[in-house]
């Protein structure tokens, strides 16, 4: 035991020491790199690394290089809290980025609050983080469940869905998105009503009990938060029954992303309107072309995943805030982030000074067949950006 402690003390001393001018600025990044979350976390980390490389190639920030300190958050909030504390007390990072699940995001936000360290949530969407659990040092550049619910309600009105079947996964994200949607529904579509609410379990693969209920409920549209593999399973089980011939599927959870389109290919149904943060084949800002080309080179594939941009944007915001604060003091960085506008691959984004939420938009639209392509593409693409 004693040998262990002296080892620990030696490591801590080696990592410590006063911060000299010209030393790199350390950016902590935590994403799930193993387990079920890795398919989102690994691309997000790749985007994070890309931004660090690009900024360093241009000379860094305040004349200093950026150094990325990367850790697996394991999708486990206690482990992530301990790891984040380690980044702060041992690796002396100046800012922490990342997270994916709501619980990990909230856990990291709690550490940020205790340690007075700036944390920018790049993927977690839980509304709590920027509402009742908001504090000085937490910021979010992901979308959130209120914004997503708001857009879902807007689309219900746009596609004139009168009777809604509401499908949400029975866990934090599903509950929050349900609340966000129900809050916004009377505002956009006072004539529409929810006729059926179903809550499959997180990780469910068998929807045979739910599909007939939805088909016999008399709804002309589904509002859903079934993301990734849940949507894929639903389609595989429901499409042969002609489910999508009659029912419009309006969904959050980024099932319009290229990753989902590719995993379903020809099986991807008609009548789906959904969202994605980024589309490799659609540039609305000149910056996207260079970003996408660099990412494609890094990942070795032309068809890049949407999650990378969130990791990328996290670094852009961190760098811009440090540049603006001209300091590494967490309080000054936090103040600099309030109201900060940064040019990203989807155009300029601004963090609201009061809610600490950025006006991150998403691409929304129907997924359609296009000649010569074996996967569906979003067309027409509409970029819906919240007004904060």
């Amino acid at each position: 035991m004693r040998a262990g402690w002296s080892l620990v003390a030696a490591m801590a001393l080696a990592a410590g020491g006063a911060l000299a001018q010209g030393e790199p600025i350390r950016i902590g990044a935590m994403y799930p790199l193993t387990g079920g979350g890795a398919i989102y976390g690994v691309p997000a980390m790749a985007g994070h690394q890309l931004a660090i490389e690009e900024i360093n190639a241009k000379g860094g920030v305040l004349g200093r290089k950026l150094e990325s300190v990367e850790r697996d958050d394991k999708m486990n909030p206690s482990a992530a809290s301990a790891t984040m504390k380690e980044l702060i007390t041992k690796d002396n990072v100046h800012i922490v980025l990342g997270g994916l699940s709501s619980a990990v995001g909230l856990g990291m936000s709690e550490v940020a609050k205790q340690e007075k360290m700036v944390y920018i949530a790049t993927v977690p969407k839980t509304i709590q983080m920027t509402s009742d659990k908001l504090h000085k040092h937490v910021f979010r550049i992901a979308s959130n469940t209120d914004l997503e619910g708001d857009t879902l309600a807007e689309l219900v009105s746009k596609y004139k869905v009168k009777n809604i079947c509401h499908l949400q996964l029975d866990y934090a994200y599903g509950h929050d998105l349900e609340a966000g949607f129900l809050k916004a529904l009377p505002k956009y579509a006072p004539g529409s009503k929810v006729v059926l609410t179903l809550k499959p379990k997180l990780g469910a693969t068998d929807f045979n009990a739910f599909i007939p209920q939805v088909m016999s409920a008399g709804c002309d549209g589904v509002v859903s938060g079934l993301w990734g593999p849940h949507f894929v399973s639903w389609v595989q089980q429901a499409k042969p029954l002609g489910f999508f011939d009659k029912i419009k599927w309006i969904s959050g959870g980024e099932i319009a992303s290229h990753e989902v389109a590719v995993s379903l290919k020809d099986e991807y149904p008609d009548n789906v309107i959904s969202n994605t943060y980024e589309l490799w084949y659609h540039s609305q800002d000149p910056m996207h072309k260079t970003f996408q080309a660099a990412l494609a080179k890094k990942l070795g594939t032309q068809e890049t995943p949407q999650w990378s941009m969130l990791g990328y944007n996290g670094v852009l915001f961190a760098a811009a805030a440090i540049e603006k604060a001209k300091s590494l003091d967490p309080d000054k960085i936090a103040e600099a982030l309030e109201g900060l506008t940064v040019h990203t691959p989807v155009g300029p984004l601004t963090i609201d000074a009061k809610t600490h939420q950025s006006n991150t938009g998403q691409f929304w639209g129907p997924m359609v067949k296009q000649p010569g392509k074996d996967y569906r593409v979003m067309s027409p693409v509409e970029f819906i950006q919240p007004k904060l």
Binding site: M1, R2, G4, W5, L7, V8, A9, M11, A12, L13, A15, G16, L33, T34, R71, D72, N76, P77, S78, A79, S81, A82, T83, K85, E86, T89, K90, S102, A103, L106, G107, S109, E110, V111, Q114, T126, Q128, K133, Y171, A172, H175, L202
Partner: protein
């Protein structure tokens, strides 16, 4: 180790731990706090495994009950720590009594499976009872008294709690009760014949284990200012079981060594690679193949070999 030697070693380690904050490393303090909590957690499990000979696959349940109870009483009901902590520990004991009442009716693998089933039930309650536990968002923002607000004071608080817990468990394990548990472990039928009420004895061991796990859980929740459903998941039960196996279940202090080594290894590994589960698998393989009595057993074998020369 004779009682007097282990007492001296114990006091020595305690003194070193008490002096640790003087080293001035905040990181070491944080790490030591976590290690101490895991030490108590692993030690509590060993009352069941090492002494009573019952392998529990669901020990995280009582850790989580203690952690959630303390967190909820402090945060939702604004109790003072002096009331919330004992209440949480007592509740863990009561829950262990209820669950243990059923579990000790079975032995061997059936006992293990039932503990696992009850632990997943506790996980399910934490997940579903969102109004109280926060569901899978977790319960964050736990109100810890300002006196314990900084890392050093919380470290000392943990040290006192864990040291008292270890001392109490030592007394329990070395009492007549502890010896009877060993008798049940070695041969339950024969122990029964000489008049030991084996089932009741195993039940009491179950309650003792659950109570101290609850204390560890309460300390853990306050340290992280958050309790999460993952803390009740079977993977946590497995981790603490591996700590006990690594340290050595037939030694009182074995689990303390196991918890310390395993947690520090995990922390060190994470800094270089995300493949901790692979490392953990290899560790488990080595224990099962070559170190059936853990690190403590290895040390004892070395001592015996040295004595012969």
């Amino acid at each position: 180790m004779s009682g007097r030697v282990s007492l001296a070693v114990g006091i020595g380690i305690l003194t070193l731990l008490a002096l640790l904050p003087l080293a001035g490393s905040r990181y070491a303090i944080d790490l030591a706090t976590q290690v101490l909590i895991y030490c108590l957690f692993a030690l509590s499990l060993n009352v069941l495994i090492g002494y009573a000979g019952n392998v529990s696959f669901g020990h995280a349940a009582y850790f989580a009950i203690g952690g959630y109870a303390c967190a909820i009483l402090l945060t939702t009901y604004n109790w003072t720590l002096a009331l919330a902590l004992p209440a949480a520990v007592v509740l863990s004991g009561v829950m262990a009594a209820v669950i243990g009442y059923f579990c000790v009716r079975l032995t061997q693998i059936y006992f293990a499976m039932l503990t696992l089933a009850f632990a997943m039930l506790v996980w399910g309650v934490a997940f579903k009872w969102r109004e109280v536990t926060g569901g899978d968002d977790g319960l964050t923002g736990i109100k810890v008294p300002t006196l314990l607000g900084n890392a050093t004071s919380y470290y000392y608080f943990t040290l006192v709690m864990v040291a008292s817990g270890v001392a109490l468990l030592w007394l329990i394990c070395h009492s007549a009760f502890g010896l009877m548990l060993v008798a049940v472990r070695e041969n339950a039928v024969r122990a029964g014949f000489v008049g030991v009420e084996t089932r009741r004895l195993r039940w009491v061991a179950f309650i003792v284990a659950g109570t101290f796990a609850g204390l560890a859980g309460a300390l853990f929740g306050m340290y992280h200012r958050g309790m999460y459903i993952e803390n009740a998941f079977w993977t946590e039960s497995a981790q603490v079981l591996i700590m006990v196996l690594l340290g050595g279940m037939y030694s009182f202090f074995g689990p303390l060594i196991g918890a310390t080594v395993l947690y520090l290894l995990q922390v060190a590994t994470n800094q270089f690679t995300q493949y901790w589960p692979t490392v953990l698998g290899l560790i488990l393989l080595v224990i099962l193949m070559f170190l059936p009595d853990g690190l403590a057993g290895l040390a004892a074998r070395f001592r015996r070999a040295g004595g012969r020369n």
